[in-house]
């Protein structure tokens, strides 16, 4: 009984547990809320893409819809578009496909691309940074100089070279952007590990006879994870941008996949006659990246105690 009473005396604060406190902190950030709203909207769009879109994303509308023309501008009847033309929210592309349906389905591709690419980079970067920081000595030097080389290398050009080596596909574009992003997470993780590994609770674990792997995964990693989450969220926006850029240049997603970057790339020559082909996928890209950046900013403000203003 006394033990319970003492525990209550020691922690009489209004804390409702670390997770709820953290969530509360995050939800107090205006940036995080706006970011979360945008991303929830995109997530729902991606999940229900089939229900939202008016046609299958790759369906050619010739012969399906009466009076449809290729690269035609958006036509919405309530906004004054003559009813003689078929109603198409975002017009058609140069292959007479419905741009709205393709943009909606593109949300699936881009969200998956963002999470998968950054997930890959974080896992590898964390491992490299952890080993480098924990081992120190020559291993640290070799690993981190390797990371320096990757950082100095122009990212997009390295990605192009990797994609050329592996073959042009969306997966390889993600892989190459992931590889290019590894040093960021390796550096963050190494810096965290260097700070945490000197702290008293790690010394205590060591004194209790915990194995190095145990210390690394049970003590060091959980205490280094905050900066990784923040950098990762901000990194997803960057990864979505970079993979879209590769697809735009023709190195990533291949037709007919509805991916925003490649949609823009394929029809960039139509800029002067059919700007809606650039505008709508572009807007979708901006919205996605904006959402991740806002959420990342909000997370940083909420999770990093040094930034509390």
């Amino acid at each position: 009984m006394t033990a319970v009473v003492e525990a209550e005396l020691v922690a009489p604060s209004t804390s409702k547990g670390i997770w709820r406190d953290t969530l509360g902190n995050i939800l107090r950030q205006r940036n995080a809320i706006v970011g979360l709203t945008i991303l929830s909207f995109l997530l729902l769009t991606a999940l229900f893409a089939d229900q939202i879109s008016t046609y299958p994303p790759n369906q050619v509308l010739l012969g399906v819809v009466d009076g449809v023309k290729k690269s035609s501008a958006p036509c919405i009847h309530v906004l004054g578009c003559p009813t003689s033309q078929p109603e198409l929210l975002m017009g058609t592309d140069s292959n007479v496909r419905d741009v709205f349906s393709r943009v909606v389905h593109g949300a699936r591709v881009s969200l998956f691309v963002g999470f998968a690419t950054v997930g890959f980079a974080i896992v590898l970067g964390t491992l490299i940074g952890m080993v480098a920081g924990f081992a120190g000595g020559w291993l640290d030097n070799v690993l981190m100089r390797g990371m320096d080389v990757l950082l100095v290398f122009p990212a997009l050009l390295l990605a192009i070279a990797i994609v050329t080596a592996l073959g042009q596909s969306l997966v390889n574009a993600q892989l190459s952007i992931g590889i290019v992003a590894i040093p960021i997470y390796a550096r963050i993780m190494r810096a965290s590990v260097l700070t945490v590994k000197e702290s008293d609770f790690v010394t205590a674990s060591r004194a209790l006879g915990e194995s190095p792997a145990g210390i690394l995964f049970r003590r060091v990693l959980p205490n280094s994870i905050t900066p990784l989450i923040v950098a990762g969220t901000l990194g997803i926006g960057g990864a979505v941008l970079d993979v879209a850029a590769l697809s735009f240049l023709g190195y990533g997603a291949q037709p007919p996949l509805a991916e925003w970057g490649s949609m823009i790339g394929q029809d960039s020559g139509k800029l002067f006659t059919a700007p809606h082909l650039i505008f709508f996928p572009g807007l979708a890209l901006v919205l996605t990246v904006f959402g991740f950046n806002l959420l990342g900013d909000g997370l940083r403000d909420a999770l990093d105690p040094r930034l509390n203003r």
């Binding site: 290398f153 080596a165 926006g237 240049l249 823009i264 002067f272 901006v286 904006f290 950046n293």
Partner: protein
């Protein structure tokens, strides 16, 4: 100071070597041979074997690497397999385009970015501040290729025929030519390195036109530079505005600033004379890092605005398996990046006497 600089330069050598190794071996894992990329359908096994033998491509890879390093130590970057030009000549043509573009983008980003950051910090939490920071957040979220295409659409199509129309492609309007510096200055007899330097500088069109007084050309070159510079500079601009704001806010909370306020200085003078100089340190770092990455990262801008710069050159060379060009260009880009970083670090000591370089 000198010892620090020397040590920093020595420390970059392993990184440069790593770059060389990476580029070289990347060249050997790329599927498809130079010969087949070059000859296409006509490439038979016999022809390609002869080609490989003539260019030393049938030697063991470590030997090829040693040969490459040997040539490099004499300043020989090799010959492009695609155009048969020396890689150095290609660099003299291409690098000035990217340098001009990157500097123009940075000029745009720094002037506007610092200004917006200062205004935001000065009027913190005002409408201007909120709008600027939201704008900065959107600025870092716009893909360069979307922004570039939209700029081209607005300034070349919508504003066509108005005084605000800007050309969306190339460096000069067809029909306008620029006189090379070597011709203007009567140095056509020069050869070798001095001539290379003259030609290099000459290809920075705005500089060339400025020093030789070709005003019509200068105006045309600048008009062609505006849209690409805005497209490339917007992300750095947004980052610089945010860093300037947060850094200035940090500094304005320090004790010496309170002292300055207490002795009765106006807020404007506090910001200008006490806040800004110290707040500029983190901004310098960001400017340096961003400038370094612009040199290699301009490939999208160069593609959209049809500029033959370094980024596009490397992307094209990767496509045609032109390894000497890829290696030479990437090496030079990396050296520029490392050099800018060095300058940033050293400039710290000048900007902030508290920083001791050891």
């Amino acid at each position: 100071m000198l010892r620090y600089i020397v040590r920093r330069i020595l420390l970059t050598i392993p990184v440069l070597f790593g770059i060389l190794v990476l580029v070289f071996f990347l060249g050997h894992v790329l599927p498809g041979s130079t010969c087949r990329a070059l000859l296409g359908e006509r490439a038979t096994d016999a022809v390609c074997a002869a080609y490989d033998h003539a260019h030393g491509l049938d030697l063991p890879i470590p030997v090829q690497f040693a040969n490459y390093l040997g040539a490099l130590s004499h300043g020989d970057l090799g010959t492009s397999t695609k155009s048969s030009q020396s890689v150095l000549d290609l660099l003299i043509q291409r690098l000035p385009v990217t340098i001009e573009l990157a500097l123009a983008a940075m000029l745009f980003a720094v002037t506007i970015g610092v200004l917006l950051g200062v205004i935001s910090a000065y009027k913190r939490n005002s409408v201007i501040d909120v709008v600027t920071m939201a704008g900065a957040n959107i600025g870092v979220s716009i893909p360069i290729f979307v922004l570039g295409l939209l700029l081209a659409f607005v300034f070349a199509i919508i504003l066509k025929g108005t005084p605000f129309a800007l050309p969306p492609s190339g460096r000069l309007t067809p029909g306008i030519t620029i006189v090379p510096l070597a011709t203007s200055w009567g140095l056509t007899s020069w050869t070798g390195v001095p001539r290379g330097i003259i030609d290099f500088v000459s290809n920075i069109y705005t500089f060339n036109a400025l020093v030789t007084g070709q005003w019509a050309v200068l105006g045309d070159a600048i008009r062609h530079l505006i849209l690409p510079a805005i497209a490339l500079g917007t992300i750095p601009l947004a980052i610089i505005a945010r860093i300037t704001r947060s850094s200035l806010l940090d500094v304005l909370g320090l004790d010496y600033v309170r002292t300055a306020r207490a002795k009765g200085l106006t807020e404007r003078n506090v910001v200008r004379h006490h806040g800004l100089p110290n707040a500029m340190l983190p901004v310098t770092t960001i400017v340096g890092l961003q400038l370094g990455s612009l040199f290699g990262g301009a490939v999208l801008t160069e593609t959209i605005f049809n500029l033959s710069g370094v980024g596009r050159a490397v992307a094209e060379a990767i496509g045609s398996r032109d390894f000497p060009t890829v290696q030479g260009f990437v090496l030079v880009i990396a050296i520029i990046y490392l050099f800018i970083n060095l300058i940033v670090d050293v400039s710290y000591a000048f900007l902030d006497p508290r920083v001791r370089l050891t």
